[in-house]
Amino acid sequence: MKHLNRRHFLGAGLLLGASTLIGKELPAKPIAIPQEYVPPIIAFPEKKPMVAISDRPPLLKSAKGRELFTQPITPNDEFFVRWHLPDIPTFVDLSTFRLEVKGEVHTPLSLSVDDLKSKFEPTEITAVLQCGGNSRKYYKNVGPATHGVQWDHGAMGCAVWKGVRLKDLLEHAGVKESARWVGLNGLEKPAMEETPDFFREMAIAEALEDQILVAYSMNGEDLPYLNGFPLRLVIPGHFADSWVKMLTEITVLDRYQKSFFMDVAYTVPDNDCECVVSGSDFEYKRKPIASMKVKSVIGYPSSDTVIKKGSKVKVAGVAFDQGKGIKEVMISLDGGKSWSAAKLAAENGKYSFRMWTYEWDAKIKGDFSIMARAINRIGNIQPQVDEIGWNAGGYQYNAVDVVNVKIV
């Protein structure tokens, strides 16, 4: 992978694509593209070279794969990127940038980033940011591949977010009696006016919870441009879809406003299992995804790690949930027949990655299936791979993680 980096890092402007898989030499077989297209690895502003699933809008994941999840905090320059609409300003001028708080409030506010930093109490929280479609590609183990970007585990990360409580902003503006919902919008805009905006909503009671931030800092630095500079919403414990980037408008509403990205995209079946018979399409009553599900991901080893017989393998990874706290991570080395507890690192707040490790003596040559399964303090446990309920949008995948390795 390394040799690609220089070729792709031209720093400025036009990069001609990495891949000429298609178009030039068609294979003799009637298969025009490989089963799985491998996107190029490209340098983006303030990022290490990343896997570029799309450049416009940018959809990027770390080129490190699982290895990214052997550390409690994900570095800014390796943090995944996921926008929805193509028209994203390439500059934000802080002297004119304003965050508006308006609608059903007594005193509408128009705040600069400096106002946020100087006039409100700063708050810090470490929290996992995970796309609702993270790990979606593994749904094909239980049914047809679902709609949407076929993410592996790469659409997640954990960062220290610093900013102002949303609640403090709303209280400063004075929420009216009539307030029911809070609408959120940012500078990301569609190419065509008629395309729905990336507009998100949350109930007023939720918006007033303590842990929700309007963040101006990520891991001690300004937010990277691609992660929403200069402001983004942080909703610990929730999937990423409402963590609006380049946040400019907070509108208090007296009623719910229907919108494509709330009511159609990022939804799951509105039933107890939030699932349907695999293969059935979108014909079901839906509800927006919200709280994250308990999950663990193996950071080391990965399926291409060479493990020598007689070596000591430190299996490692992360676990997290909706904010109840991880109680235990169980590891199996025999494909799920027997399980033993991994060692949990100290907790770093309720919403962050909980690191875990497991010492494994690689005694016998052969094929092994490493599995990780987390359970949280309220007894939510990751489903087995063949137990997870399927949904057509491929959201909130959280089955037991599996890595197949060979001891040689």
Partner: protein, 105 residues
């Protein structure tokens, strides 16, 4: 088509980005599109709102999937594509990025 987007990108860059002393430069990726079977129609419409990466990343899909996706672009996102061109694009996608089947997947 490609030229047009680059121009748009450059025109969009007018104010100063606070963190760096010059505009952030977004790389451009030329995602490969299979030639033939009226790829020009797909080029004309399917790159207006997002890159071809969106299509490549879906993996191989059935005819009903591609037909439904093209319809979704038109109905939900208001892509201005005539019925005839929708059909052409669907055929192109099924042939090069999918497979024929009658069931939903």
């Amino acid at each position: 088509m490609k030229k047009l987007f680059l121009t748009a990108l450059i025109l969009g860059a007018t104010t100063l980005f606070a963190q760096v002393d010059k505009p952030v430069e977004m790389p451009y990726v030329d995602y490969p599109m299979v030639k033939g079977d009226h790829d020009e129609v797909a080029q004309q419409y399917c790159l207006i709102c997002h890159s071809w990466g969106y299509i490549l990343n879906q993996g191989k899909k059935s005819r009903p999937y591609w037909k439904g996706t093209v319809q979704k672009m038109v109905n939900e996102f208001k892509a201005p594509i005539s019925k005839e061109d929708q059909q052409t694009i669907t055929n192109y996608l099924v042939k090069h990025y999918g497979y024929e089947t009658t069931s939903a997947h």
